[in-house]
Amino acid sequence: MLKISAAKLNDLFDAISAKQTLYIPVDREPNAAEFKKYESGMKLSASLNTIRSAKDFFFPQTENLADFKMNGKNIEVKDIREESEDFVIFGVRACDARSFGILDKVFLSEPVDSFYKNRRDHGTVVTMACTRPSETCFCTTFGIDPTVPEGDCAVFFDGENYFFLDRTEKGTKFVESISDMLEEGDASKLAEVQENARNIMKKLPLANLSTDSFGGDKLNELFDSDKWADLSEACIGCGTCTFVCPTCQCYDIRDFNTGREIKRFRCWDSCMYSDFTKMAHGNPRTSQLERFRQRFMHKLVYFPANNDGEFGCVGCGRCLSKCPISMNIVKVMKALEVK
C-alpha cells in the first residue's frame, strides 16, 4: 500500500493545496474541531470528529440560488450558477462518508439538484479510518465499519504512517496526483490497529443498539406509539440536532431584498422548528410532539421505506453530545424498541 510518514503529512497537504482547495479538520479549541481551508502549517486535528458534519461541503448552510429584479411588471432573473472548483476534503470519518450516500439519494435522484451535484462532482472525499471511537459512537448499528471507511480514498493510520487506499475512480486520480510524495509501505501493523479498533467497537456502550424494530414497514405501530409524548416532553424545539446531523437535508427557500435586487437563497431548516413547512393554512405539525416524531420517523421509517431499507442515520453521535437537553435518537430507539 502507498503510504506517507506522519512527519511528512504537512508536506503532502502543502502539495495538495497547491493544486486545489484542501479542507482538513483542525482544532479550534480543545474538543472542538472544524473543517478549515488548509493553510500551510495547519495541524490535522486528533479529535474523533468535527462539531459540524462534513455535509456543508456539498450542502452548505446557506446558498444563493438566483438573483432577480422587479422591473415594472417584468421580473428579470439572473442565473448566478457557476462551475465549482475542484476540492479535496481530507479526514472525513466513516459515518460522515456514509452520510454523503444518503444525501445523494435525496439530491441526485430526479430532479437532480444541480447545485449539489456540481459540488459533489468536483469534491474528492478522503476519509480517515477510526482507531479510537467514543462512547457516543454507534455507526456499526447502521452497518458501517469505521475501520474501513468509504469515500473516494480511504486513509489509515498505524501510529507512524498514513496509508492510502483508493476506492473510486476519483480516488485513484487523487492518489495518482500525489503519488510522487507517497511510497510503497508495509501495512502489516495496520491490521493489528484495525483489529484493536474493532474490538473496542464491540465493547462500546451502544454496541448492541439494534435497528430490528425499525424500518419502512413499521410505520403504523411506531407512529401511534404512546412513547412519543414522554420522549418529546423536554424537547425545546431548537435545531441543534438537525444542524450538527450529517444526514439532515431539509432546507427552506427564502428571498432577501437588498434594496436593488432580490436574492433567492436556501438555508438549512429544521423539522424541530415551529415554522417548518409552514404553508398558507399554517403548520401541518402543530405540536412539538409531532415535530419531534417527524424527525425520528423520517430517519427510522420514512427514509428506509423509500430507499431500499437504508436508514437516515449514520450513528455519528453528534446529537448525543450536543442536544441541550440530552434527548437523542438512541434514547428514542431504545424507548421504541420491541423487546
Binding site: N257, R260, G282, S287
Partner: protein
C-alpha cells in the same frame, strides 16, 4: 395591487428653485405601484387640491404621496382633500421636500436626489398604510373641579350655568381659598368678602354643584370623557347633614388654644371650629389633633351642647367614586414661609410679618378686629417697612426663580390703606422694580406715591435687627441716592413669594399631567392652549398654572370652564386613530408595555385562545384603550415579541422607509 398617486409641489419657487421637481415626478413615476406622478405650482391651493382629488377618482388611487412642505404644515389639508374624494385620509403620506430639502440645500443635483429618496421613502411607506378610522368614546356629562378657591368656584359656576353637573373637591373645611383671607382687593379697594362670599353661597345653592369640602382626590383612572375619580372625604367628626352651623359647640369647646390657620396663626381657635363666619358649607369640624375627646376620650362637651346631634366621634374617612368627563385643576397657591432668610428675622421677631398676615391684622374679622396693632405688644406702629421680592426672582438655591407677580400691587394697596387709616404712620417700600402691568395698576401705584406719600425707595433691605427697645433696625440701600439707610421701624412686612400648593405634585402624577420645575402645571401650549394641560380632558384654572391676581384668575377660570363645557357638550369624542394595538396571538402578557405607558392605556385580560396545536388555552393578553392611547409608541419597543404595533407608524412602515432611504 397598489395604485399610488404622487404629487410634487413647486411651492412657487420655494421648492422648484433648488429641486428639479419635474425630475422628481419623473423618477417617482417609475416606482412600483405608482400610477400617476404629477407636479404643480401650489399643491395646497384649491386647484392643487383638486388635482389630487380628481386623480384619486380618476385612477381609483389606493394611496397618495404629496412631496411638499412639512407634514406639520399641510398634512391635514391633504388628508381632508383625500377624504373628500373618498380616500381614507390616513392613506396620505407627505414627503417633506421643502423644510428638509429645498430650503437647506443649494446644489440642485444633490437636492433633487434627496427629494427623490424622500419621495421613495414616502411611497414605500404608503404601500403599507392601512385605512384608519378614528374611534369614538362617550363623554360623561359631569365635571370635577379640584380646589374651591375663587378659581374653582368660578369654573364650577360657569360649568353649572351651562347645565352640567360639577363637583368641587376642597381639602379645607370650607371653600373660599386665599381670597377669603384677603381684606381689600386692588386696584379698586373693594372688600374681598363682599364679592367672594356671594359667589360661595351661589355655589352652595346651585343644584348642579356638589361641594365635597374637607376632601381630597385619592385616585384618578380613565381618560378624557371618562375619568373615574376616587374622592376621600376626610372624617370631620360632624355629620354635615345635621350640623346647622349654629356655632354653639365652638363657644363651649374647652380646648381654646389651637392656632387659627385662617388668621395665619395670629390668634387661636377651638378644637371644634368653623373657619370663619361666612364659611361654606357652614359646618363645624373637629380637629382630632387637639380634641380632648378624640385624643383622650374625656370631654364630649360639644356632643352634649349640640342640639342637632351632629357630633359623631366615630366618623371615619370615606371613599366615594364618581365618573367625570372633564377635570379642572384649581389647586391654587400658598405664600412661602420666609424662615430661611435669617436676615429678615421673621422666625424670631413677631413684628416681622408676611403680607398675608398683614391682611389678617388689618381685617375687621381678624385677630385685632381691624385695628392695625403690632403683634408683639399690640401697640400702634408708626413706621412700617415693606420689603419686596422676598424669595421671588432668586436663583434656584435662594428661592423661586420667577416673579410672583401680585406683590407689587398688594404692597401698594397695603401702603395706601395704612396711610389712609393711620396718616401718622410712615410707610417705606423697598423695591427692586415696581411691576404694574394691568388695567389701572400703574395709576394705583402712582396714587400710593403721589396721593398717599408712601416712600418708595429703590433698593433692597439687607438686614432686619430687632432692638431691645422693641424697635426694629432696618438696614437697607437706597440705590438712587447711593447710600445705606437705617430705618427705625415698628413693623416689617415681607412680600413673600407664592408657590403652588403642596398637593399639586402628587395630583399631577395621578392626572399624568406635566409640571414645570417649580411645580406649576404646564399648559398644553403657552399661547394657543393656555388653559388646557397636555393631557386631554384636564384643564387648568388659576394660580396652579402660574402666579396670577384675582381678575386674571377669574378670567382663566371662566376660560377653563368654557373648554370643559366644550368637551362636555359632545356626546362622544373622536380619538386619534394612530394608536397602539396588540396582536393578541403574539402577546406574552408580560406587562412590559403597561409599565412604560404614560397614560395607563393598557390593560390585561385573560382570554381563551385556540393555540397552534389546536388546544385551547387561557392566556393573559394586553389590550389598548384607543381613547386613552396618545400614540407615542413606547410600548412597541418595550414589547419583546413585537405584539405591540402602532397605527400609522408601524414597524413595517418605518422599516420600509429605512430601506428606501438606505437603498
Amino acid at each position: 395591487m397598489q395604485r399610488i398617486g404622487v404629487f410634487v409641489c413647486h411651492c412657487g419657487t420655494n421648492i422648484a428653485a433648488t429641486v428639479d421637481v419635474k425630475a422628481v415626478a419623473e423618477a417617482l413615476g417609475h416606482e412600483a405601484g405608482v400610477v400617476i406622478s404629477q407636479d404643480y405650482q401650489y399643491m395646497c391651493s384649491e386647484s392643487g387640491q383638486d388635482l389630487v382629488k380628481n386623480a384619486i377618482k380618476e385612477h381609483n388611487l389606493t394611496g397618495v404621496v404629496v412631496c411638499s412642505c412639512s407634514p406639520r404644515m399641510h398634512e391635514n389639508t391633504f388628508r381632508k382633500a383625500a377624504a373628500s374624494a373618498g380616500l381614507n385620509p390616513y392613506l396620505v403620506e407627505i414627503a417633506n421636500i421643502r423644510e428638509q430639502c429645498s430650503w437647506i440645500h443649494k446644489d440642485i443635483a444633490s437636492a433633487t436626489d434627496k427629494a427623490i429618496v424622500l419621495g421613495k421613502a414616502a411611497v414605500a411607506k404608503v404601500h403599507l398604510n392601512a385605512p384608519l378610522t378614528a374611534g369614538e368614546s362617550p363623554v360623561v356629562k359631569r365635571a370635577l373641579v379640584i380646589g374651591g378657591g375663587i378659581a374653582g368656584i368660578q369654573t364650577a359656576l360657569d360649568i353649572a350655568e351651562a347645565g352640567f353637573e360639577v363637583d368641587i373637591v376642597e381639602k379645607e373645611p370650607t371653600i373660599g381659598g386665599k381670597m377669603a383671607q384677603i381684606d381689600k382687593t386692588f386696584p379698586t379697594l373693594d372688600c374681598a368678602a363682599c364679592i367672594l362670599t356671594p359667589k360661595m353661597v351661589e355655589a352652595a345653592q346651585n343644584e348642579k354643584i356638589t361641594i365635597h369640602s374637607f376632601s381630597e382626590v385619592a385616585d384618578v383612572k380613565g381618560f378624557v370623557g371618562n375619568f373615574t375619580v376616587t374622592i376621600k372625604k376626610k372624617a370631620r367628626f360632624v355629620d354635615e347633614t345635621k350640623c346647622t352651623g349654629c356655632g354653639l359647640c365652638t363657644e363651649k369647646c374647652p380646648m381654646k388654644k389651637v392656632p387659627n390657620e385662617f388668621n395665619m396663626g395670629l390668634d387661636n381657635r377651638t378644637a371644634v371650629y368653623i373657619p370663619f363666619a361666612q364659611a361654606v358649607p357652614k359646618v363645624a369640624t373637629i380637629d382630632p389633633n387637639y380634641c380632648l375627646m378624640l385624643k383622650n376620650g374625656k370631654c364630649g362637651v360639644c356632643s352634649k351642647v349640640c342640639t342637632a346631634g351632629a357630633i359623631d366621634y366615630k366618623q371615619t374617612d370615606k371613599m366615594i367614586e364618581q365618573k367625570y368627563g372633564a377635570i379642572v385643576v384649581a389647586t391654587g397657591f400658598n405664600p412661602i414661609k420666609p424662615d430661611k432668610y435669617d436676615e429678615f428675622a421673621y422666625s424670631y421677631c413677631p413684628d416681622v410679618v408676611t403680607s398675608l398676615e398683614l391682611e389678617r391684622l388689618m381685617n375687621a374679622a381678624g385677630p385685632n378686629g381691624g385695628t392695625l396693632l403690632r403683634p408683639s405688644d399690640k401697640t400702634h406702629p408708626h413706621t412700617i417697612v415693606f420689603v419686596q421680592c422676598v424669595g421671588s426672582r432668586c436663583d434656584d438655591e435662594k428661592g423661586k426663580p420667577y416673579c410672583s407677580k401680585i406683590c407689587c400691587m398688594y404692597t401698594a394697596k397695603h401702603a395706601m390703606l395704612i396711610r389712609e387709616k393711620y396718616p401718622d404712620t410712615e410707610v417705606y417700600v423697598f423695591y427692586i422694580d415696581v411691576r404694574t402691568p394691568g388695567k389701572n395698576f400703574d395709576e394705583f401705584y402712582r396714587r400710593a406715591v403721589e396721593q398717599y406719600n408712601v416712600h418708595y425707595i429703590k433698593g433692597m433691605v439687607g438686614k432686619v435687627t430687632p432692638k431691645a427697645d422693641g424697635k426694629i433696625d432696618v438696614q437697607a440701600s437706597d440705590l438712587l441716592a447711593n447710600e445705606q439707610l437705617h430705618i427705625n421701624a415698628d413693623m416689617v412686612v415681607l412680600a413673600t413669594a407664592i408657590e403652588p400648593d403642596k398637593t399639586a405634585r402628587p395630583l399631577a402624577t395621578m392626572l399624568t399631567t406635566q409640571m414645570d420645575t417649580n411645580d406649576f402645571f404646564t399648559e398644553a401650549h403657552p399661547k394657543l392652549r393656555p388653559v388646557e394641560s397636555a393631557t386631554a380632558g384636564i384643564f387648568l384654572s388659576g394660580a396652579c398654572q402660574g402666579p396670577k391676581d384675582i381678575p386674571e384668575t377669574v378670567a382663566q377660570a371662566s376660560a377653563a370652564a368654557a373648554k370643559a363645557i366644550g368637551l362636555l357638550c359632545k356626546n362622544s369624542i373622536t380619538c386619534n386613530p394612530c394608536v397602539a394595538h396588540s396582536d393578541e396571538l403574539m402577546c406574552n402578557g408580560c406587562s412590559a408595555c403597561e409599565k412604560v405607558c404614560p397614560y395607563g392605556a393598557i390593560t390585561y385580560q385573560d382570554k381563551e385562545f385556540r393555540m397552534p396545536d389546536r388546544s385551547t388555552a387561557i392566556r393573559r393578553v394586553a389590550s389598548v384603550n384607543p381613547a386613552v392611547c396618545q400614540g407615542c409608541g413606547a410600548c412597541t419597543v418595550a414589547c419583546p415579541s413585537g405584539a405591540m404595533d402602532l397605527n400609522g407608524f408601524s414597524n413595517s412602515q418605518i422599516m420600509a422607509e429605512v430601506d428606501a432611504i438606505c437603498k
